[in-house]
């Protein structure tokens, strides 16, 4: 029997979700709605009798103080339109799941299914067309949701809304198909295309040759297979060989031609740029090497102190976030959480850091097909990460937002997570992994559904018209929290030997990769717990359904492990055994459905050979005059999207849970200044801390990605230095988001884009090496293009460089806000005419050519000296100069401190700059604005001796931000509160 319970607010109780929805309808869609109410709907299917419905409605589902309910009748009254939005079948319904558990506990019976939907009750002068727009353009994402629109005129209050049950009904026919690969190239291509395998014909031919091998074939025959590949094997190989999992481009052999026509060959950018730098830094550190596990695990591990290790990983979840911003981003954050959680023996998660790249939320032009409005993406992603981070109890300590119109086609959603693990558990080191043949394969956490099928291969191609819906998942932070609570206890009791997460590629990747540690596995897909019947074996193997970890458990611990899981209400299932057979062997019941050599599965993929050609672009040099009103120019800059305050987003993330917050994302006299980096104290009875920062500057890619990468690295490092971090123990994570750099019909400029990638990697090697900041893990996402019809949008090549470091004593940390009138204002570092790609040029519609360049040697000396001064307590405030340069850093320092500032540009150290606006807004790297107590002047200058620094002004007690130009005249005289207001306004929604 199907029943509906509707829950609404009592008369006189504010419906803030309704109010918020009303605002969005007016602001986003320009439709003048008068009133919006919301009603929560629970559709139940199962054996519910008598007064049980009343108990459910008045018990867990409604709040007796503020809510009313209706059972099997409509609650809505007096409206013009009613829009009900519910999930499509198979889409994760977290609230429905919680409701089901609550109902089962309340009634003490099993077998009640609960599905949720929400009604929006609209009043006002709205046409049916408007209502359609509100439903499809704001309230529902038709990929994952369905909606129903009911006119108030047609509404019969006595009649309920017809119940809709989004039950998954698929034919339960778990068969395995055999696919003949001995067919034409066209047919091979078709196999790849129809199955979203993202394989090339050549790659499929490698599989064909493998199957033709006599030894291989003989062994297959013994298991009941033949020379045809099974769909399980084909899908498994496609996942394992995807760009997403294998990083084919980063591992390719590249012929690079520079602007003079000379050629160099790079045999794997990954080995020769990223890993090489780390290897050399570790060699230089020798016995003091503090890296413990780099590039081999789900995340990198470094030493924190003798008792603890730190773990860090940053991931992207771009393509899913383009299709379903909320679900995509939520899955992104809870997904990256599992990386450090599944690294080594497993770590407790201590911070999140997020960076989003969007088109302007105020985008006004027509939208290309299948693209959601950037404001919808912005708010959906923001909310997804809010729910994922906050509900997991992990503080979001740092992050940023970057805006560029080219992120319209694909937004970038970078999510990073750090963890901490005991250095030893029961005497054994925790940073490495091992598996003994005979260990049991156990999967724990959520169940497997069709959600997230083909995520790995889908993200390995551009977003196109037929991008699959099943690639989108919705994460469930609470299921994951229950699982991690359980696994941390299991870890500390040493119940399992090894852990890894189920992310891209699902079991195929997690078990497949774990099996390399012992040399094989036997897996029965029939044993896997499913959300609903009807999955085929290949779907079970590659589903990316969320909240699952795979473990290797010694047989003698299995019982205890499963008992603990049961007690803590977490599902855990034995799926098979790890072996040393050399084979990836999957069964469905008694039948073999995949039988592949481990070596072929992981190393059978042929390397790509690619060509790169660098032709430096030439942009028009700007020809705008110096502004008459520099105060206004400063305000214009402060209100740029890339510069303005991100407080409204920051506030919605819990940045203090776990109790170790030291430098918060918002600082200063009114708790609203923009912090450069975060400092946290993960062990509450210690003053040792962790510093977290990011650097990202995609605009410079339009000129030269070498310098873009150098600047991103420098920005991340100097942000860490600014709050009191040091180069002594700072680790990096590289995260490349590129547009397709492989030349093809779709990508005629592939050679140039690949050259951009090569150059960025060369900078990565040069600068991480020079700073001694080793990359410990990383990620690349290489297909950030949108192609539908004639429209192609490629993102600017974007490198996010994130750092995590150790700060010996958090009590020495420094924030960016000016502290006291009379403090001296120092500008550290040299300002050059480097406005290419700057915000100041962008404001005037130019790119220019003089991109900022980093002098690593000078920068390193400055950073070391500044760390010394901060550790001696000589620095009152320190703020990095990035977007918008010195002018922005000075103004932010002043208004965050609630104090005025007098600064004289003629005293600012500079080289080759003629114009005051250029001096004020140049984005030369490796610079800071620091304020210093007058009594510390001599000591500070002594420690910084040999570096380019100057005292350029002082903090004042009035509220005026005053700047003298190089000719001695006052060029800016603004009230700091006016500046702050301008800076706070744009994204304050």
């Amino acid at each position: 029997m199907i029943h509906r319970i509707e829950i609404g607010f009592k008369e006189g109780i504010r419906d803030v979700l309704g109010e918020k929805t009303k605002r969005k309808i007016i602001e986003h869609l320009g439709i003048d709605v008068a009133e919006v109410d919301t009603i929560e709907v629970y559709t139940m299917e199962g054996d519910i009798v008598g007064d049980e419905l009343g108990k459910i409605a008045s018990g867990p589902l409604s709040d007796p103080i503020i809510q009313k309910y209706a059972i099997d009748r409509g609650l809505a009254a007096r409206f013009d339109w009613l829009i009900e939005v519910g999930f499509r079948p198979g889409v994760t319904d977290n609230v429905g799941k919680t409701a089901r558990e609550a109902v089962e506990l309340l009634l003490n019976k099993k077998g009640v299914d609960v599905y949720t939907s929400r009604q929006y009750v609209l009043r006002g002068n709205i046409t049916r067309k408007d209502a359609e727009r509100i439903a499809s353009g704001l309230l529902a994402n038709e990929l994952i949701q369905r909606y129903e629109i009911i006119s108030g005129r047609e509404w019969n209050p006595a009649e309920e809304v017809r119940p809709y049950v989004p039950r998954v009904t698929i034919e339960d026919n778990p068969s395995t198909e055999e696919i003949d690969l001995d067919v034409s190239d066209e047919e091979l291509q078709e196999i790849s295309d129809t199955r979203v395998l993202a394989l090339t014909v050549d790659e499929i031919k490698v599989m064909r040759n493998y199957l033709h091998n006599e030894t291989v074939l003989n062994e297959r025959m013994k298991t009941g297979l033949n020379e045809k590949i099974t769909d399980v094997e084909l899908e498994c190989l496609a996942q394992s060989w995807s760009e997403h999992c294998k990083h084919k481009i980063f591992n390719s052999i590249i012929d690079y031609e520079d602007e003079n026509g000379s050629h160099t060959t790079t045999d794997s950018l990954f080995s020769n740029c990223i890993k090489k730098s780390t290897r050399e830094i570790r060699e230089d550190l020798g016995e003091d090497d503090w890296c413990l596990s780099v590039f081999v695990d789900n995340a990198g591990i470094i030493r924190f102190n003798d008792d603890y290790n730190l773990v860090f990983k940053v991931e992207t979840h771009n393509s899913p976030s383009a299709l379903d911003p909320y679900g995509g981003a939520l899955t992104g954050i809870v997904g990256v959480n599992r990386d450090p959680f599944g690294t080594g023996k497993g770590s407790k998660l201590i911070f999140n850091t997020d960076v989003f790249c969007f088109a302007s939320p105020f985008y006004k032009k027509p939208l290309p097909k299948r693209i959601l409005h950037p404001r919808r993406i912005y708010e959906g992603v923001r909310e997804g990460v809010e729910h994922g981070g906050n509900k997991s109890g992990i503080p979001t300590v740092n992050g940023c937002l970057v805006f560029d119109e080219r992120y319209l086609g694909k937004p970038l959603v970078y999510c990073g997570t750090g963890g901490i693990m005991p250095a030893r558990i029961l005497g054994e080191a925790t940073y490495s992994k091992e598996i003994v043949p005979g260990d049991i394969i156990i999967m724990t956490g959520g169940r497997i559904g069709k959600d997230g099928i083909h995520g790995a291969t889908f993200s390995s191609e551009e977003l196109h018209e037929d991008s699959p819906v099943t690639a989108v998942q919705i994460g469930d932070p609470i299921t994951q929290k229950k699982m991690t609570d359980f696994l941390l206890i299991a870890r500390d009791r040493n119940l399992y030997r090894t852990i890894t997460d189920n992310g891209a590629g699902g079991l195929s990747s997690s078990v497949g990769e774990m099996a390399t540690l012992c040399g094989g596995c036997e897996l029965d897909l029939k044993k896997a717990p499913l959300k609903y019947a009807g999955l085929k074996p290949w779907e079970i193997l590659i589903s990316e359904a969320q909240e699952r970890m795979s473990l290797a458990v010694p047989p003698e611990n299995c019982e205890e492990f499963l008992d603990l899981a049961g007690k803590m209400n977490v599902e855990a299932t034995i799926l098979g055994t790890f072996t040393d057979s050399g084979k990836f062997h999957a069964y469905y019941g008694d039948d073999t459905v995949a039988y592949l050599d481990m070596e072929f599965l992981h190393d059978g993929l042929p390397r790509m050979q690619l060509n790169a050609k660098w032709i430096p672009p030439q942009h028009k040099e700007p020809d705008f005059p110096e502004p008459d009103d520099m105060g206004q120019a400063l305000k214009d800059m402060l209100s740029r999207l890339n510069i303005c305050s991100k407080e409204s987003v920051v506030r919605q993330y819990d940045h203090e849970v776990q109790g170790g917050s030291v430098v918060k994302p918002l600082v200063g006299v009114a708790n609203d200044g923009p912090s450069d980096a975060a400092v946290i104290r993960p062990i509450l009875d210690s003053f040792e801390g962790v510093v977290v920062s990011n650097g990202i500057c995609p605009r410079y890619s339009d000129i030269d990605t070498y310098h873009m990468a150098a600047c991103a690295i420098d920005e991340a490092v100097r942000n860490a230095i600014a709050v009191g971090g040091s180069l002594a123990r700072l680790a990096g994570i590289d995260n490349f988001c590129w547009c397709d750099p492989v030349e093809s019909e779709k990508t005629p400029d592939g050679q140039y884009k690949l050259a951009q990638l090569v150059r960025a990697n060369r900078a990565l090697y040069d600068y991480t090496k020079a700073y001694g900041v080793p990359c410990i893990s990383g990620k690349d996402s290489m297909k950030n293009d949108y192609i539908i019809g004639e429209t192609k949008i490629s993102i600017p090549p974007t490198l996010l460089f994130s750092t995590m470091g150790k700060i010996e004593d958090v009590r020495k940390a420094v924030t960016m806000d000016a502290k006291k009138s009379g403090d001296l204002v120092y500008v550290l570092g040299e300002t050059r005419e480097e406005l290419g790609g700057s915000e100041w040029f962008a404001l005037h519609g130019f790119t220019g050519n003089n991109v900022p360049k980093v002098n690593a040697l000078k920068a390193k000396n400055l950073y070391d000296a500044l760390t010394g001064a901060i550790n001696k307590g000589l620095v009152a405030s320190c703020h990095d100069c990035s977007d918008g340069g010195l002018g922005i850093a000075l103004a932010e320092t002043a208004f965050a401190g609630g104090l005025g500032m007098d600064v004289d540009l003629s005293r600012v150290p500079r080289e080759g700059i003629e114009r005051d606006d250029y001096l004020f807004f140049s984005e030369s790297q490796s610079r800071f604005v620091a304020t210093v107590f007058p009594k510390s002047r001599e000591e500070f200058e002594g420690i910084l001796a040999g570096n380019i620094i100057a005292c350029a002004g002082k903090i004042t007690s009035n509220k005026t931000f005053r700047v003298y130009g190089t000719n001695g005249e006052t060029i800016v005289e603004e009230d700091i509160n006016d500046l702050k207001k301008v800076w706070q306004k744009p994204l304050n929604f």
Binding site: I13, R14, V16, L17, E19, G59, P60, L61, S62, D63, I65, I66, N94, V95, T98, A99, E101, A102, L105, L106, N390, K391, S392, G393, D476, P477, I478, K481, K482, D485, I489, K567, M568, R651, Q652, Y653, D654, H655, E656, V657, Q658, G659, G660, S661, V662, V663, K664, V667, G668, V669, N671, R681, L684, D685, V810, A813, T815, D817, K819, G897
Partner: protein
């Protein structure tokens, strides 16, 4: 007299502030502090009886999916202790009857209110009379707030305190009472322990953001008539050391964070009275 205060911090199903809450109990001098997963209570491996001080920390019980702490309250009311002879809720009732102390913060406070543990007029600890619902802003917010403390309240946790500065981190922190009579009773019986105020702690305020959620009469925390059962939306366990303060780099402040005093009062009370 040797310290024998035993504290329990309950976790599981989405609770996430258990670590710092336990740390606060330890710093406050509790001799024994256990973080206990709710399954250990439900399996009868741990009992509330063995403790003096029950901490219900912040988090998102069951994702707050049915309204904050609703599914969590449903669990405590209806779940049996293994063996089926006792409800978990009965242990709560006995704990209160024994004169012991309960502190609920944020989601823990929401849980207490929805269980009826607060304000519990006339010691009826099972009827809900107030609720905590969505902030007027319609959003989750993390921000620090100034709180005036009612010196006439019987609350044992806030003895000697007049004001405190703490962070709120919630999306459902707005107190609403069933009717004006209930609100009146909260005032007249001094159930109201703390209110959001202006930055000079001069008066309770309804102005956003000083009052971050639009809570009626600026109420931030309430206690029962014994003063031993206390719930509040702001997080005292988030301010245990001066480096937690958002402006510690610009103001001189004592080593201990102000939030610790709430836990000290609890431990001292138990030490003297139980």
């Amino acid at each position: 007299m040797a310290n024998r205060v035993r504290s329990i911090v309950i976790t599981g199903n989405g609770t996430n502030c258990e670590m710092e809450m336990a740390h606060a109990c330890r710093l406050a001098g509790s001799a024994k502090v256990d973080i206990v997963h709710i399954s250990e209570l439900l399996y009868g491996e741990k009992r509330l009886d063995d403790y003096h001080f029950l901490n219900l920390p912040g988090g998102f019980l069951d994702g707050d999916d049915l309204g904050s702490a609703k599914a969590g309250a449903n669990r405590i009311i209806h779940a049996d202790i293994k063996g089926g002879r006792e409800k978990l809720y009965a242990q709560f009732v006995k704990f209160i009857a024994d004169g012991k102390l309960i502190l609920g913060v944020c989601n823990g406070f929401q849980l207490m209110v929805k269980l009826g543990l607060l304000p519990a007029f006339d010691r009826d600890y099972s009827t809900q009379t107030v609720t905590l619902t969505f902030n007027d802003s319609g959003r989750f917010e993390d921000r620090w707030v100034y709180l005036r403390i009612n010196g006439d309240s019987p609350c044992v946790f806030t003895r000697g305190l007049e004001k405190i500065y703490l962070p709120v981190r919630n999306g459902e922190g707005k107190i609403v009472t069933k009717n004006p009579v209930i609100l009146e009773k909260l005032h007249t019986n001094n159930h109201i322990v703390m209110q959001y105020s202006d930055e000079n702690y001069e008066r309770a305020t309804m102005d956003y953001p000083d009052n971050p959620n639009g809570s009626v009469d600026a109420i931030a925390g309430i206690c029962d008539e014994t003063g031993r059962i206390f719930g509040l939306m702001p997080h005292p366990e988030a301010y245990l050391h001066y480096t937690n303060h958002p402006r510690w780099t610009r103001e001189i402040m004592p080593e201990d964070g102000a939030g610790l005093s709430i836990f000290r009062n609890a431990v001292d009370f138990i030490q003297r009275n139980l």
